[in-house]
């Protein structure tokens, strides 16, 4: 964050209360104003919650680094099990100001990282609610596989307007899609893996009308992307389409009934750009929901 920010104010505390976190935010904003020619602008467009289990910590911060100036918001990173003491709440609060192109003024983004002791992590909504910016949408980015049916997921999806996942981060996405589909009636869901398939979906759409009778989709790529593409074809074409998958880290090739698609001439987006695109989407995506609902585990 410090590399791109015009200036950065930071406060950390162990075993803190939320009142102390809010006071720190207020103080940092004031400090930040004193360093520039005028007050930093705080034009928040949302509260962005991220559930970040310890293994995802570095990736979450990297994504935020590329995103703050595009979505000036309050980002609240919840790190479950981030302290040794079960009852403890530890915090790291940052106000980062970014220069606006062609202007003297800066725009401020706030990041609050809360490390939750294991007891505190059981009821995350009560921790986050005091920090939500009123009147603005709440996006919840869930790192890794969401614990379907567990209290923390239920609570956070209950207060978020949109849940953002990346099913590439799951071990067996085809098995979990039905669980994800159960959430659709309660919260709008975005999947970054779905966003990555967009250039391939455009390519497949261009294959109309031949694609209309497709019986088999062959994908060399991640299981999530492949399953979503197959589910999308099944739901849009209203026919059974089998999936032949060869696993790879990125989608390398897609073929419909043996006709290989030309690789899309689009550069892969960074994790920040992908999340950024999802944060600009509001409301439910019926095409995505239908695709997820049509995903299934292929017989070996």
């Amino acid at each position: 964050m410090a590399e791109t920010a015009a200036h950065l104010e930071e406060w950390t505390g162990e075993d803190v209360s939320l009142a102390e976190v809010e006071a720190a935010l207020f103080a940092l904003r004031r400090e930040s104003c004193e360093e520039t020619e005028g007050p930093d602008l705080r034009t928040s467009v949302m509260t962005h919650i991220a559930w970040v289990p310890p293994g995802w910590h570095e990736a979450a911060w990297t994504t935020l680094e590329g995103m703050a100036e595009r979505h000036p918001s309050r980002a609240v990173l919840l790190v479950p099990g981030g302290t040794d003491n079960d009852d403890e709440l530890a915090a790291r609060v940052q106000v980062a100001a970014f220069a606006l192109p062609g202007e003297r003024r800066h725009v401020a983004a706030e990041i609050v990282e809360l490390r939750l002791g294991s007891k505190r992590a059981r009821s995350p909504a009560s921790i986050v609610m005091p920090l939500l910016i009123s009147g603005l949408p709440v996006f919840c980015r869930w790192r890794g596989r969401p614990p379907f049916g567990e209290r923390e997921l239920e609570e956070l999806t209950g207060l978020a307007d949109r849940l953002v996942v990346d099913s590439r981060e799951w071990d067996d996405p085809a098995a979990d899609y039905p669980r994800l589909a159960e959430l659709f009636e309660r919260v709008a869901v975005s999947d970054i893996a779905w966003r990555r398939t967009l250039p391939w979906r455009v390519g497949l759409a261009h294959d109309w009308p031949e694609i209309g009778s497709c019986e088999e989709l062959t994908v060399t790529g991640p299981a999530a992307d492949a399953n979503l593409l197959a589910g999308w074809l099944r739901s849009r074409l209203d026919r059974d389409v089998s999936l032949a998958l060869a696993t790879a880290e990125e989608v390398e090739s897609v073929a419909a009934d043996g006709r290989e698609l030309q690789k899309p001439p689009v550069e892969p987006l960074s994790s920040s750009e992908l999340l950024s695109a999802e944060l600009e989407t509001f409301g439910r995506d019926g095409v995505y929901e239908a695709a997820v609902s049509a995903c299934r585990r292929e017989r070996p």
Binding site: L41, T43, V45, E69, R70, P72, L100, P101, G102, E103, R105, V107, L198, R201, V202, L204, A205, W208, P209, I211, W232, L233, R236, L237, D238, V266, D285, G286, V287, Y288
Partner: protein
């Protein structure tokens, strides 16, 4: 391309944004506009993959250039004026579909060859006979070019005509030009550019007014004291003496940008955001603007002065300007929109060159609170609420509100709440020409001016110019680097008001 109804896979995909295959022909391609705006805009569209898959650009002008020379010139222009980082692969893609033809627009044989070449391009690039003709040529060349193109139009594919300003010199010449266009093209095929309408912040005026329930109920004579619209430039005429001597500020800015900003500010909510609905409402405003009398219009011309600490010459000392020129470089006017919503609410508008800074703003000044229950001294620094739409620079909106100064007692001051575009959304704002080129290729005329709008705009200008013929002001009457002639201040002082200067 198949429609959504035919192809179920298209639902939800961002394909509809891409225009149909077409060839874009830029007439006047050796001019400044092509270098500064059109090609940088095309490059930005190419970078974002918003141009059609089957696409071609043909530059046409009198300059004797080869294809390679033209591409070389345009590459330099994109590097200099483009808003994006230059990428060789994107440029190669655009350059690969770009060519150039040297021609005299009145030369029958050259025009025939051009049309034959476009047919060849259709075969080679799959542009399907669809044409966008961009007429970036001087007004005098316009009728001939329109006639030549009209005579050669075919029934294959669609044709769209983008016409750059100035559209005519007065109402009579604009009507004549419209008539020559309508001899061969329908009004739906004509896209008259006013690039201000392509600016995000100008479009945001519609969003601000019609997407927010809090503003529209107070957007009327009951709550608004007056409106101030400023289009200020710190630059001089930048070597455009030939054009500016004829046009002056009234034709350069007032007739088009300024009156469009008035129309957008004053118009009634359209029933939808389609081209005709929006333009129907704008033209009603333009028809309702009553002609300001001579006392309500001020013109000026700059003398020597200092801009940003640098001494600059007087207008009459600029290269190729008549030393006795009576061209105005400044105009201010008090306009009234005679309808139920705006009766008796003045719209003060001003535009000028060599003013202290570059600024385009629409300031809506609300009436004072009827009875603030504070001591007079406490509220002496309290000004009326003003909603300011910053069109450029610092694109955004700010609202001036009264607030208590912290501390003992009740002392009030005016503070600004700012919404800055770059702060809340993607940092980079698209250039107006990108949006307008794309819209023209897609056939969406919402952000272009219709013939009846242009006609009404000229009617207002003609009346002002006719009154000017009766007197000869002592020019220059304001120093470069100041906010215009003293009579412009007097225009508002008479009403107990003053211009915003910051």
């Amino acid at each position: 391309m198949a429609t959504t109804q035919e192809n179920p896979l298209l639902e939800g995909l961002p394909l509809a944004q891409t225009p149909e295959p077409c060839a874009l022909v830029v007439f006047g391609a050796s001019g400044d506009l092509t270098r500064r705006k059109i090609f940088p805009a095309l490059y930005a569209l190419a970078l974002r993959r918003l141009l059609p898959e089957s696409f071609a650009v043909l530059g046409a002008a009198r300059s004797e250039w080869t294809d390679d020379e033209f591409r070389h010139q345009m590459e330099a222009a994109v590097r200099e004026f483009g808003r994006d980082e230059f990428r060789d692969d994107v440029w190669e893609r655009l350059a690969g579909v770009t060519s150039y033809r040297s021609l005299d627009f009145a030369d029958d044989q050259a025009e025939d060859e051009l049309i034959a070449y476009l047919e060849h391009v259709d075969g080679e690039r799959g542009t399907e006979g669809n044409r966008v003709y961009y007429l970036a040529v001087p007004p005098a060349a316009m009728p001939t070019l329109v006639e030549e193109l009209g005579r050669r139009r075919t029934t294959e594919g669609w044709t769209r005509l983008i016409v750059e300003k100035p559209f005519g010199f007065d109402q009579a010449s604009a009507r004549e030009l419209n008539q020559s266009i309508w001899n061969h093209f329908t009004e739906e095929e004509v896209f008259r550019i006013d690039h201000y309408l392509g600016k995000e912040t100008v479009q945001n005026m519609a969003a601000l007014r019609f997407a927010n329930g809090i503003f529209e109920p107070i957007w009327n004579r009951q709550f608004i004291d007056h409106v101030q619209i400023t289009v200020a430039e710190s630059i001089g005429i930048e070597g455009r003496a030939g054009y500016y001597e004829q046009a002056g500020a009234i034709r350069d800015i007032f007739q088009n940008h300024m009156l469009q900003l008035v129309a957008l500010t004053a118009m009634e909510p359209p029933s939808d955001f389609t081209a005709d609905s929006v333009r129907n409402e704008k033209v009603k405003v333009l028809k309702s603007i009553h002609t300001p009398g001579p006392k309500h219009v001020v013109r000026g011309q700059y003398g020597r002065g200092f801009v940003e600490g640098i001494e600059v010459p007087a207008y009459r000392e600029e290269a190729s300007v008549d030393p006795n020129s009576m061209a105005e470089t400044y105009i201010a006017a008090k306009l009234f929109v005679d309808n139920w919503r705006w009766a008796d609410t003045p719209f003060y508008v001003r535009t000028g060159k060599r003013l202290p800074r570059r600024e385009t703003t629409i300031a809506i000044q609300f009436k004072r609170a009827p009875h603030p229950p504070f001591a007079e001294a406490a509220a002496e620094e309290l000004r009326p609420n003003v909603l300011i739409v910053h069109v450029q620079p610092d694109e955004g909106v700010s609202l001036a509100v009264g607030a208590k100064v912290p501390g003992v007692g009740m002392k009030l001051r005016t503070v600004h709440m700012d919404f800055v575009y770059g702060g809340a959304f993607q940092v980079e704002m698209p250039e107006a020409y990108e949006r307008l080129l794309l819209d023209a290729m897609r056939g969406d005329a919402t952000l272009f001016t219709r013939a009846d709008e242009v006609d009404e705009q000229w009617a207002i200008v003609d009346a002002i110019v006719a009154a000017w013929k009766r007197d000869r002001p002592a020019f220059p009457n304001y120093a470069a680097g100041t906010w215009g002639p003293p009579s412009a201040d007097e225009l508002l002082r008479r009403d107990g008001r003053s211009w915003r200067h910051h």
